[in-house]
């Protein structure tokens, strides 16, 4: 039981312990940080984006908005097939994306809400907003027996302020002749997380309802006076779907996928508009864009425009020290704003208008690594 041969056993066990400790330490130390920037070759295999590119990073991490998650998850699936690059996009909400990119815990982020001046100042260097698609924030409802619903800015604000409490309120009846509403309570559903969708929704309501502006205000994380919270667009859609007599606000595709009712809204020109992709595109007509593209297009004055339309953005640092990553990101953004647009309509998003696309291209060309643009000038 206790002889010299035993020595090997204990030593082995101790070695195993030490080895595992060392292995962990080495793993942590061997961060995949430094990469050799290749000479900025014309990168013809790499641009335009046609297939694999040997110099780019093979994996990217991203997080952010759930609003475009339906199309972004489609994009990363297709992009993987096209180029072999794994873009791991985790939909955690615009607020989560903004925080992640600010703290550089991800490579890029998605947000429907443009970053505020304060948020931009908190970042270590300049961040670009790259618009990818447009979408409609739609009031979606689950009311037994009701298939069509007309809402005005006043009634929508009233519901979310808790002023209109039941479905058979006369204010709702006034805009919906012939519809028989139940006498049940309205359960408004909102986002429990910090959300660009909330930003677009409240931005609109604050523009059309002074009472909403003063009581709740516009932002990604406002405090609604009443209702149920859902996490992400998918969480809100899920809550509306499973809660009778509820109403929520989601990107169009989420309501369509769940076969939930979508309300028509009275827009700024006085017309009741259905949430269609055409109506969304009309909201971008005649808009003056600031240089950094941080724009809000809610409550558009255009005749047929959907009043709660919004762009959604990908956020990236302008200068990224890791060349392979910068190249991979620029290529992905380029693919998304070009090839990716083909998937938009089927998935309930409106493609970028031509003038915005030009500006997006300029932003993508502006991405540099160590000062040098990663994509060749067109």
């Amino acid at each position: 039981m206790l002889d010299a041969g035993m020595l090997g056993e204990e030593k082995k066990m101790k070695f195993r312990l030490a080895a595992s400790a060392l292995a962990i330490a080495t793993l942590i130390a061997a961060c995949g940080g430094a990469s050799t920037p290749s000479p900025s070759s014309s990168a013809n295999p790499c641009f335009p984006v046609k297939g694999q590119c040997p110099e780019e990073a093979q994996q990217l991490t991203a997080s952010g908005a759930t609003f475009p998650a339906v199309i972004y998850t489609k994009w990363v699936d297709e992009y993987y097939k096209a180029t072999g690059v794994q873009v791991n996009y985790q939909a955690i909400g615009s607020g989560g994306g903004i925080k992640a990119i600010t703290e550089k815990t991800v490579d890029f982020a998605g947000s429907d809400a443009p970053m505020t001046d304060a948020q931009l100042a908190a970042a270590s260097s300049s961040i670009l907003h790259i618009p990818t698609v447009m979408g409609a924030v739609v009031p979606t409802f689950n009311v037994p027996g009701v298939t069509k619903l007309n809402l005005t800015p006043e009634t929508l604000a009233g519901i979310y302020l808790g002023a209109i409490k039941t479905w058979n309120d006369p204010k709702l009846a006034a805009d919906n002749p012939g519809v028989s509403f139940p006498s049940t309570n309205i359960t408004p559903v909102f986002r429990s997380d910090s959300s660009g969708t909330t930003f677009a929704f409240t931005d609109y309501l604050a523009k059309v309802s002074p009472e909403f502006k003063s009581k709740v205000g516009a932002g990604t994380a406002v405090t609604f006076p009443t209702g149920l919270g859902g996490k992400g667009n998918d969480g809100v859609a899920g809550a509306v779907k499973s809660t009778p007599n509820s109403i929520g606000y989601v990107e169009l595709i989420y309501a369509l996928q769940q076969k939930l009712g979508t309300a028509s809204l009275k827009n700024a020109s006085g017309k009741f508009v259905d949430p269609t992709l055409d109506a969304v595109s009309k909201a971008a007509v005649g808009v003056t864009y600031p240089d950094d593209l941080r724009v809000s297009i809610t409550n558009s004055p255009n005749a047929e425009a959907w009043p709660i339309s919004t762009f959604t953005f990908l956020l990236t640092y302008k200068d990224i020290s890791d060349h392979a990553k910068a190249l991979a990101m620029a290529r992905y953004f380029w693919w998304g704003t070009h090839d990716g647009q083909n998937f938009a309509k089927d998935l309930g998003y409106a493609p970028l208008p031509a003038d915005v696309l030009t500006k997006a291209e300029a932003k993508i060309h502006a991405i540099t690594s160590g000062g040098t643009p990663v994509l060749p000038a067109k």
Binding site: K14, L17, A18, S63, I92, G93, G95, G96, I98, K99, A100, T102, A118, Q119, A122, N185, T187, F190, S192, D193, S194, G217, G219, A221, V222, T223, F224, P225, T226, G227, L228, G229, G230, K231, A239, S242, T243, S246
Partner: protein, 312 residues
């Protein structure tokens, strides 16, 4: 001598690894208090009493979260404690040994179910059940009574503090049963025999000899259950509603608990004060966990020695 050096190496290695444990605890406490410090100094005690939680204006008061945690935990204990203690008494005093062993094992398996699975089950089974049947029933019966009627008032959405409390009750049940069992089993036979000797019925024996002796330990078990309920995150977050409305008396109101607030808001708390406020909630949870766990173990140790059987 070789063995002297071997012993020293061994002792050194083991000690080094073992000391990682208190070091980690210290690290956790220090790091989190440091991250929460801006919030602690800005809001002071008002953090606990104010229910205004406004990331936009940077005003943070966690009273609503504290309230949600307290209410769901209270509901959980009120429901789980009688059932758990009852089952524990049955298992120790009434059930034949082999049956008791199997049944105990089955109840313990409940503890191995991950909390997210409870959340899933709660969301898809309990929420519709409560929304369609239980809560309307409660509202129409108990809701009309004068004092406690307020608990069951208001619109019924299904995801609310009540369901949060119920799912917590199910989750702390196995823990309460296990510890209560140990505590009750630890009551000396002499006590029981004394009662039976004067002709008491089984229940009278339990009530007169066993329970008074085990009472402190059972309180300890309940305190452990409270500690567990306080920190429970995933199951509650799926069913509790996640709405930061003001504090009302109704159980049918969607609410937050401290843990679910952290889970929901941590990844997006940008801005130093917002982030700091979230971490402060975590620090509060930490504090409660430390205090309550220590208290519970002291109580249980008095009756049953070192608690076993809940390496859970």
């Amino acid at each position: 001598m070789r063995s002297g050096r071997g012993d020293r190496l061994f002792a050194g290695g083991v000690t080094g690894l073992a000391l990682i444990v208190p070091l980690t605890l210290a690290g956790i406490t220090l790091l989190m208090v440091e991250a929460a410090w801006p919030s602690i100094t800005t809001y002071g005690l008002g953090f606990l009493t104010s229910s205004t939680w406004d990331p936009v204006k940077e005003i943070f008061g966690a009273a609503a979260y504290l309230y949600g945690t307290l209410v769901t935990t209270a509901v959980a204990v009120v429901i789980a404690a009688p059932v758990a203690v009852g089952a524990a008494i049955f298992l120790v005093e009434y059930a034949p040994q082999r049956v008791a062993g199997t049944l105990s094992f089955l109840i313990e398996v409940l503890a191995y179910i991950p909390s997210i699975v409870y959340g899933l089950w709660g969301l898809f089974v309990l929420v519709p059940l409560f929304r369609e049947n239980v809560e309307p029933f409660l509202q129409s019966t108990l809701g009309v009574l004068p004092l406690i009627g307020g608990l069951f008032s208001g619109p019924i959405g299904g995801r609310d503090l009540l369901v949060g409390g119920v799912i917590l009750a199910i989750m702390i049940l196995p823990l309460l049963v296990a510890v209560s069992r140990e505590v009750i089993a630890a009551v000396p036979t002499a006590q029981r025999e004394g009662m039976l000797g004067i002709g008491a019925t089984k229940w009278e024996m339990v009530r007169g000899a066993v329970l008074p002796y085990a009472r402190i330990g059972i309180v300890g078990a309940i305190v452990l259950g409270v500690a567990r309920a306080f920190g429970e995150t995933m199951a509650v977050t799926l069913v509790v509603g996640n709405s930061s409305t003001a504090i009302t008396s109704s159980l049918f109101v969607p609410g937050y608990t401290m843990a679910s607030a952290i889970a929901n808001q941590f990844v997006e708390a940008s801005g130093q004060l917002y982030f700091s406020a979230i971490v402060e909630i975590a620090v509060l949870l930490l504090l409660v966990a430390l205090i309550v766990n220590t208290l519970a173990r002291l109580l249980i140790r008095r009756v049953a020695g070192t608690p076993q059987g809940f390496a859970i």
